[in-house]
Symmetry: C2
Subunit: 384 residues, 2 copies
C-alpha cells in the first residue's frame, strides 16, 4: 500500500472539510478540495458570519502551499448538478479516496421553510448519488468516506451500536443476521443522512463499492495543529442560531457575557467530538480501508454530555449565567445516550476531553474575536 494517496475532499472549504484537508496534506497525501463555496454564500444570504476571520479559499490555500511540501489543489464545481463533471474529474485524477463533506449540514437551516427543506434534500441526495454513480461509472477502486451523523439513530434507545444490530422476530421469522440500526432522524437534515444510508447500502450491495460512513457527534472547537500554522489558515467557527452547534455557541456566548441559552429542559444528551479528533479520525479511516462486503459504519464520537451539564461547566469557568428558553425543536426533553465507539479507539484515536481544553477555547479564540460577534444572530429562528 502506497503511503501517499490521491484524495478528493468534497466540501473541503467547510468547518470540518478545511482542517481535514490540511491534516491529510500534512500527512503526505495529495489533496484536491472540491467545493462550490455554498456555505460562504449562505452566510452572505442570512447575514451571518464566522466568529473567526476566515480567508478566501484561494488565499488560505496559497498560504498553505507556501508553507508546506504537499500542495493542495482546488476545484470549484457544484456536485449536485447532473452534468457528470465530477465523473470527468474522477477519470482525470483517479483518486484513491473520496471524502464526502459536501452536504448542507445544519438541522435548523433545513427546518426553516419550504425553500431550505427543498434545498437540503435536493442538494444532499443529488450530491451523494452523483458521487456513487460516478464511482460506479469510473470502474476505479475508490474508497468513499462519508460524514454521517449520530442523528440518524435518534436518541434514547439504549446502547447505540456501530451501524448494525442483530434482530430476530418470532412471528415473521426474519432470517437476516443483521440490519442497519433502524433510522429515526430528528430533522430534514438528519433525514438526508438516513437517505444516504439507503443509497450506500444499495450501491455496496449491487456494485460492491467500498464505503465508510462515519456517524459523527457534534463537533466542537476551532483550531487544529495545522490551522494553527498561520493566522490565514484559521478555521471557521459558527455561533449563530442555525449553524452554531451547541458547544461552540456556548463558548462564543460566554466570551461576550451573553447568557447561555439552553433549549428546554437541558436534559437532552448528545455525543461530542473535538475538531482535532475529527481530523484524526478521518485519517484513521483513510489509513484503514474497509472490505467491500458491507458498508462500514463507525461512530465518530468521544464523549456524551447533557446540554445542562455543558452549560453548567461553561458557566463555572466563565461566570456567565444560564438562560432557559422554550425549545424550538421537536425532541425528547430527556434521554440517555450510550454509544459504541470502539473502532476508532482501537485504531489509536486518543480522545481530547472537553474538560481539558475548554478554558483554552474560551480564552483564546472566543475572547480574541469577540468584537466580531453579532448578538442578533445568536437566538434560534428556526422552529419545528
Amino acid at each position: 500500500m502506497k503511503t501517499s494517496k490521491k484524495i478528493f475532499i468534497l466540501g473541503g472549504d467547510g468547518f470540518c472539510g478545511w482542517p481535514t484537508s490540511l491534516h491529510l496534506s500534512k500527512h503526505s497525501h495529495e489533496v484536491t478540495i472540491i467545493d462550490n463555496l455554498s456555505r460562504r454564500k449562505i452566510d452572505k444570504q442570512f447575514k451571518t458570519n464566522s466568529l473567526t476571520p476566515i480567508k478566501s479559499i484561494n488565499q488560505r490555500i496559497k498560504v498553505w502551499n507556501n508553507l508546506n511540501k504537499h500542495k493542495i489543489n482546488f476545484i470549484n464545481i457544484d456536485l449536485s448538478k447532473n452534468d457528470f463533471k465530477f465523473l470527468e474529474l474522477i477519470k482525470k485524477y483517479k483518486p484513491d479516496i473520496i471524502i464526502h463533506f459536501a452536504e448542507q449540514r445544519s438541522a435548523p437551516f433545513s427546518m426553516k421553510n419550504k425553500n431550505t427543506r427543498a434545498y437540503t434534500v435536493n442538494n444532499n441526495i443529488s450530491v451523494t448519488h452523483n458521487i456513487l454513480n460516478a464511482i460506479v461509472e469510473s470502474k476505479l477502486d475508490i474508497h468513499l468516506i462519508h460524514l454521517g451523523t449520530m442523528g440518524v439513530y435518534g436518541y434514547g434507545n439504549g446502547l447505540i451500536p456501530e451501524g448494525y444490530i442483530n434482530i430476530s422476530d418470532i412471528k415473521y421469522g426474519f432470517k437476516k443476521k443483521e440490519i442497519i440500526y433502524p433510522t429515526d432522524p430528528g430533522s430534514i437534515y438528519h433525514m438526508t443522512k438516513s437517505l444516504d444510508q439507503v443509497l450506500f447500502y444499495y450501491y455496496n450491495k449491487n456494485y460492491r463499492l467500498k464505503i465508510t460512513d462515519l456517524h459523527q457527534g457534534i463537533v466542537w472547537g476551532t483550531e487544529t495543529k495545522e490551522t494553527k500554522q498561520h493566522p490565514s489558515l484559521i478555521n471557521r467557527f459558527d455561533y449563530d442560531g442555525d449553524y452554531g452547534t451547541v458547544l461552540n455557541r456556548f463558548i462564543a456566548q460566554s466570551a461576550i457575557n451573553y447568557p447561555l441559552t439552553v433549549y428546554g429542559s437541558g436534559n437532552q444528551t448528545r455525543a461530542f467530538i473535538n475538531i482535532q479528533n475529527t481530523v484524526e479520525s478521518i485519517r484513521l479511516a483513510v489509513n484503514n480501508p474497509p472490505k467491500n462486503n458491507k458498508v462500514r459504519i463507525i461512530n465518530q464520537i468521544t464523549e456524551t454530555f447533557s446540554i445542562k451539564f455543558l452549560a453548567n461547566e461553561i458557566s463555572k469557568i466563565s461566570g456567565v449565567k444560564i438562560k432557559i428558553i422554550k425549545n424550538p425543536r421537536k425532541e425528547k426533553p430527556k434521554n440517555t445516550l450510550k454509544v459504541e465507539n470502539k473502532t476508532l479507539l482501537n485504531k489509536g484515536l486518543s480522545p481530547i476531553k472537553f474538560s481539558t481544553i475548554l478554558s483554552e477555547e474560551i480564552n483564546s479564540i472566543a475572547k480574541k474575536y469577540k468584537s466580531r460577534i453579532k448578538k442578533d444572530i445568536i437566538l434560534p429562528t428556526s422552529k419545528w
Copy 2:
C-alpha cells in the same frame, strides 16, 4: 364524510394511473390528472411502444368526459422541478387526496446506465419530496396515497408483514416496539421506493402528514371496467424488455408464438395483482383514510407465483414453448414468498385469480393487437 372527493392523480397518464383515474371518476370523485407525459417520451426515445394503441391524453380525456357525468381535468407539469408550481395547484384546488404514481417505475430502465440511474433517483426523490413539502406548506389536511412496491422488502425472509415488525435485541436493548421492515431493494428503482419510505416516515413523524404507502406486487392485465367503455379509453400494455413486467410480457409473447423467456432458474417467486384489483385497492384506500400517528403501509397483492409456474401455465394454454435465458439481473435464483395482505381483503377486495382470466387476456388484447408487436424489443437489454 362527503362522498365525492377532490383527487389529484399524479402520473395519471400511466399504466396504473390512467385506469385509476377513470375508476375514481366513475365512483363520483372529482379527478385531476397531473402528468408530464414522461412515459410517452421514454417510448419515443427508446423506440418502444404499447401493445395497445393508446390515445393522446387529451383525446382519451375528451372521450371519457363525453361519456361520463364526472369530468376529468388534466394539468401538464413536471413535479420534479423545484418551482413550487405544485404548491400553487394545491392551494388553488384544495384536493382531499393526492395519489402519487409519478415515478420512473422500471427496474431494468433504472439499471441501464449512468443517465437512467441519475434520472430515476433525481426524478423519483424530487417528486416525492416536492409533494410532501407542498402538503406541509399548504397546511391542508390531505391524504397522500403512494404507490410503493413489494421490491422494497427484498425476497426470501419468511412472512412479509404490512410494513412493520416488532424487534428486540438483547445486546442493544432496542426499546422501540416496532420498526419499518428492513429495506433490501434489488434495483435503483426499488431503492428509490425505499428512500420514499424514509421521507414518509419523517414527514409523518414531524408534520403529522396522513400517508398510505401501498406496496404493490407486479401488476398484470390491461383493461378495467372503465377502460372497456370505449376503444379510445384503452389502457397501456408494455411488453418490451424494460417496461414489460413478466406476466404481461409472457402474454404478449404467447400471442405471437415467441418463446416465453424465463430469466435464469425461474424459481424466483413474486407477488402479483391484476389491474382491475389495483384500481379497486386504491379506491379502498381512498375510502378508508388512515390516522396520522404513523404511515399506513398496505401490501397490495393477491397471489404469489414462481416465474416458472407462470410460464408453464401460459405455455399449456397457448402451446408456446419456454426458453431459459441467462438471468440479466442480480437476484436470488430461488426464494419463497409469503405476504400478509389482510388489510385490503378485510376492506372488501375480491381477488381476481390469474387462472380465471388468463385465457381472456391472451385471446382478446394480445391476439387483437399482435401485429403491433416489435420482436426486437422483447429481450432484456439492461443487465446488472
